[in-house]
Each structure stands twice: as C-alpha cells, then as structure tokens.
Symmetry: C2
Subunit: 399 residues, 2 copies
C-alpha cells in the first residue's frame, strides 16, 4: 500500500474512441450539484423529466421509458432476462462482439438461440432473418444490435423489426451507440425493447442505461410464468419505483442520484439542439472525417451504405504498429481512439464521433494527429492535403 495518496487529477483527453465520449462541462457541473435523497419530492420531479426527455430521444410514447441504474451491459441484460423465459427460442443476430454478448445472455437466461450471422463489419441481412424465421416458427423474440460498436456497422432495424412482426415476434434491440447520434425511431419502426448507454451519443458519464419498453413487451413481462432470475433487474419491481405515482413510489434500490443529474442535463442539451439536428451534425462530422482519412490514404472497414456516422472503423495499414499509434496519439495528442475488439483486435481502429465529440475541432484534431503519427512510422501522405479535404467537405454543408 502506498504511504501517500492524493486526489486524482485526470489528464484532459479528446475522447474519440467507442465511448465514453467527451463530456461537456455543463454536464460535469450538473453532476457536482448537492446530492438529495432518492425519495425526495424534488428528485421525483427530476425522474419525471428524465422519462419525458428519454421518450423524446427514443422517439416513443412508451410509458416504460427510464434509465436503468448501471452501464449499457446492465441495460442489455435487463432486456434479456425480462423478455426471455427459460425455454423460449430467441433469434440472435450476430455480426460483432455485442451480438455475441446477447447470445451469451440469452443462453444464461435459459433461452434457446437460433443464430443469424453476418461477417464482422457488415450489417445483418434482412432476408437471412426472414428465411430463418420461416424455418423456426417457435422463435418468440428477435434480438439484434442496431449499431455494432465493435465494427461500426449499422443494421436496418426498421426492416428487421417488420419481418419480426410479420412472424409474431417481439424485438430486442441494442441501440447503445445509435441513440442520439443517428435515427432510432422506436415507435415508427415498432421496436419492443430498446436499450442504450449514457456515455455514447448522449455524452454523459458512463454508468446509466436508458431503456424503453413497448406495451406489448410490458404485457409479456407482467405475465411471465417464472419470476425474472435477477431481482435487481426485474422490471416488475423496478417499475414500482420509476412508474409509481408521486410519493407512492416503492423503494427498490437507491438510484444513482448525481449521475442522473448528469443524464438530465445531457438530455436537455439534446432537446435544446433538436434530435434531427444532432443526427445531422453526426452525419456531417462523419463525412468530414471520412474525407480527411481517405485523403490520408486510409480505408474504412465497413461498406459505405452500412457505415455508422458515429463509429468509424478504419483498417490498420499493413506494416503499421497499431498499438504504438494509439499510445502515441494518447501521449502526444491527448487523443483516445479505440482498438479493435474481439476478432478485430489489431486489424482496425475505431474512431468515435459521438455526442459532444462529434464537433469540427475534433475532426481536424484527429486527422492531423493520426496523419502525423502515421508519417512518423513511414506512411506516405500529406497531412495538409487531408486537412484541406476536411475543410472542403465541411464547407459543402455550411454553404
């Protein structure tokens, strides 16, 4: 044990990895406000506003819309253990790490898994899903990842949800990386359970997982035969706290007060900007970054029409020491970008443009820092030309 400890002073980073993203000072300051009790009338009012603002972000009227008190992984597991009963057959789409994690959770909840796979870096194929559902009429739930954080691929959630509905299945959708950064139209697309995370395109600190649940799914959860295996995640119990009226709310667990201050502020900022405007900003920054990285001679891992704006997977050029590049970016430019995860370790970088990180200065900083770092490893490209390419691309929007 050290003989002396000191307060922790974190370095100031530019966060362009797969999350957390940069947290605006406004949100950090909100988190530092005085703590109050989780049953305080003033806190109950905050909870109500958070629910309303989350409905705005999720584009839904779902009554059961709230933040789960844990990271996105808890949101994922909450959806799985509530919607899936032992013995239920679940179609799981797997095209990256998080689809694989869904599969694992369904199995641990006692479900049977029917897999639909797509190559890493590609979207799930809607016709594959249709064919598989035709072959497996016992499937009750279709679970998949809308925005695969491990690869940057965007799956057509609307089309898959339509096919699922045609087969009488409910949908369970990972929108951890999409919510707030690109369209997630819960009601228009007919999604049944959607979970997300606070630290991606909402730019809040990690640790909270917004979820929304359709009436169909609520009904199924209310009429489960067996209790949910997790007491903490049992929505039948959680609802009594988040859905109770006024002071009649039942204590379930102590809500993470200050992080919820932060989430409220983050949602308020999204509301002030406007959801469509936020999507548009993510798209513009993505196109600006794309222009710069392509001018540097780098290539994307995901085909253009399946790319997420907010998570850009770049192929590590041959002969480049990918880890050394990331370390150098961190040390010399205070820039964090993500490594490849799982099967993609060592072969791609993941550059996030999420929430507050999706801004003009970050795009330039990333192109310049990455360009110079690659040059130092012998990569032939003009950083100046790349920055000009960014400028041209971004100017095409402002004109």
């Amino acid at each position: 044990m050290s003989s002396t400890y000191q307060s922790f002073t974190p370095p100031r980073r530019v966060l362009m990895g797969p999350g957390p993203s940069d947290v605006p000072e406004r949100i950090l300051q909100a988190m530092a406000r005085p703590t109050i009790g989780h049953l305080d009338p003033a806190f109950i009012g905050l909870m109500d506003e958070i629910k309303e603002l989350l409905r705005y972000a999720f584009r839904t009227e779902n009554r059961l819309t709230m933040p789960v008190s844990g990271p996105g992984t808890v949101g994922m597991e909450t959806c799985v253990v509530n919607l899936v009963e032992p013995g239920d057959t679940v179609l799981v789409g797997i095209n990256g790490v998080f689809g694989g994690r869904l599969r694992e959770m369904v199995l641990r909840a006692g479900g049977k898994v029917v897999e639909v796979r797509a190559p890493w870096g590609r979207a799930l194929d809607v016709e594959d899903v249709r064919r598989t559902l035709d072959e497996h009429p016992d499937v009750k739930v279709v679970a998949f990842v809308h925005a695969e954080t491990s690869t940057g691929a965007r799956t057509d959630a609307e089309a898959i949800a339509r096919v699922a509905r045609e087969h009488g299945c409910l949908t369970l959708v990972d929108a951890v990386t999409s919510l707030g950064g690109s369209p997630v139209l819960t009601d228009a697309w007919g999604l049944d359970m959607v979970y997300s995370g606070s630290q991606k395109c909402l730019s809040c600190t990690p640790g909270l997982s917004p979820i929304t649940v359709s009436e169909r799914a609520v009904e199924r959860i209310r009429h489960r035969i067996r209790p949910v295996q997790s007491w903490f995640m049992d929505l039948n119990l959680v609802m009594a706290y988040w859905e109770g009226e006024g002071m009649q709310r039942a204590y379930h667990h102590t809500a993470p007060i200050n992080p919820l201050y932060g989430l409220h502020e983050a949602l308020l900022m999204l509301y002030e900007e406007g959801l469509e405007q936020a999507w548009e900003r993510h798209k513009r920054m993505h196109l600006g970054l794309t222009a710069g990285l392509e001018a540097l001679g780098l290539s994307f891992f995901v085909p253009e029409e399946e790319r997420l704006w907010q998570l850009n997977a770049i192929v590590v050029p041959e002969g480049v020491d990918e880890k050394k590049v990331r370390m150098q970016l961190l040390e010399e430019y205070q820039l964090e970008i993500g490594a490849g995860l799982g099967d993609m370790a060592g072969t791609i970088w993941r550059i996030g443009l999420m929430g507050y990180s999706a801004r003009v200065e970050n795009v330039y900083h990333c192109v310049e820092a990455l360009g110079k770092t690659l040059q130092a490893q012998g990569w032939k490209a003009s950083v100046q030309e790349a920055l000009e390419a960014v400028e041209v691309e971004l100017a095409s929007f402002t004109s």
Copy 2:
C-alpha cells in the same frame, strides 16, 4: 411533454435518512473532473488505488476487492449469484428488509433457503444460527446482514462467521450500512464475501457497491459447475477487467468513470481521517444524538447493546402523524430523515448519522428540528433541554 425544460437545481438538504448521506463538496468536485476512457493508463492507476483503499476500509488483504458498477443491491446480487449454485443450501438470517431480500435473491439463483429469523429491531441470535447449522449439515453458505438498514440493528458478524466456519460454511455478509461507520474486520472475522454501498458511511454518491472476496470464495467461484446466471455480475469475467495486469485488462463493461473519481476521493478522505477515528466519530455522534432524543422523551426501537451508531431507529410516539413530521422537517428544516420500511412503515423513523452526515452540527440540527416539529404537534418536551443534553454528552468526549 413540457414545452420548456431547465437545468435541475436540487435543494440543499441535510441528509440524515438511511442513505444517501451528505456528500462533501470535495467529493462532488472530484466527480466533475474531465472524463477519461476506461482503458486509459491513467484510469488503470486510479483503479489500483481504489482497490488498495478499499482493502484499507474493509480491513482485508483480499486480492479481489473492488467496486461493482451498480448500487448496493447489485453488490448483494453479485455476491449471491457467484457464491450460490442451483441446488445449494444457504442459511439466510432474516431480521429486516435486507435479510428478506437476500432470501429472495438466493431463491432466484436456484438455491434452497434455511431461515434463521429474529424479530425486527433485534440482532440475529448466534445460538439460533449454531443450532440450525447443526440440524442442516447440507448448508454451504451462511448469508446475513451485519447492519440492518431497515431497523438499525447490528448483528455480531464475528460470532456468526466463527460458527459458520466451524460448520464448514462460507459467509456472505451485507455491510452496506456498516462499512466506514463501525468496525468491519473482514480478515480478522474471517468473512468470505462482503458487499457495501458508496452512499452510506463512505459519503459518496449512490451507484457503486464495493465488495471483497476471500481466496476461499474466489476458489469456489472459479470452480463452479454452472456459469453464473448473470453475465454482467459474473466475477470470473469482471476479474479480467479489475484484476488484469496493466494494459492487459480485458474489456468487460464500461466502468462508471466519474462516480469512481468520487469513490476514490471518498476513500481518500476516510484514509486521511483514519478508519478507527471514523468509527469513533460515528459513535460519538450517535451518543450525542441519543442524549438529545431521549431528553425529548423519544425512545429507541433497538436495545442499546444491539444499536448501530450510524442508523438510529426511533419509535414514532402515539398520536403523532409520522409522515407529516417528515414532510415538515424536509420543508421547514431541509432535513431528510427516513420512514420505516416494510413491516416498520409508520411505526419508526430512521435517522442516519453516516459518513459526512455524522457531524456535530447535524446532531444539533436534527434534535432541534425534530423537537420543534413534535412540539407543533402537541408533544410536550423542552427543545432547549434536549440541546443541552447533546452538549453535555459531546463535551464528555472532548475533555
């Protein structure tokens, strides 16, 4: 949906309920520092310090000592689902709400429960535990609550752990309300899995649950026959992130960065004060509060020798509208005290003296506010005399 939303400005409360407790400005400010990534080398250093400081707080050398990314309830469930396999018999001590919750979690994990009950407001009886273990040689785990937050009763964890060990059982101990406020000697008492919460005597914001696990328990978890039912709570996976060496740590979930800044600061403050000094402070404040409340003519729910210093359950006097009293304390004195929970609803108040809330000004504030509020309901007592009783009691320590 409201047409206008504003940043949330919480009222300034004095938090003397069952948690959260008052959070010092130092800790709030720590939480507002810039967010960095969960795999950033600087963050890895912070994680190491948090583990060391938690070992200090838990009085343990256990390697596996870390904060779980969720409220105390997640700590509880993490311990249960890792230590208990389907079919295992678990002795559960039940003398309040949280013992009952342990029972429910063991059942949902597929365990069989043998109950040892004590009346609410009383400690568990060690001889009852011994007798029950003699009668049930199949019990593998003894689970109980050290500090029952619903009643303010303290059970003799050392004695129960000894009996459990004599019967070849591991212990699973709820120290949510005790850690940092009164002795929790993990190694000296031979406890195997202990969980706590950040928002009680550590005075951090709610949302993190420190746990510590003995080598015996780690071995059992490593050699489970079936995987842990929860993917998120599976310590075999969590360990790879919190226990990995340096940059080799495996990603499991995104840690709640800023709340962990807060926990680090809270543990640092405990370390600076000294653990024994913190216990002593909680004891003194408890005796001061006791003198004041007894001078007001109020009585305690728990017998003196079984009382927790940090959670004081007071019997609501006959004829007093307990809810009105709490509402008035909140509105007129900004003072939060707790209602009774479960079977105790309406019959007791729970007054917390936890962490930063356990200080002289709070003791006076509480005695004065509660005295005046009761007087307004026709209660006959002298607030002045009660405050003098506090003064005499507190002076006996400083002399």
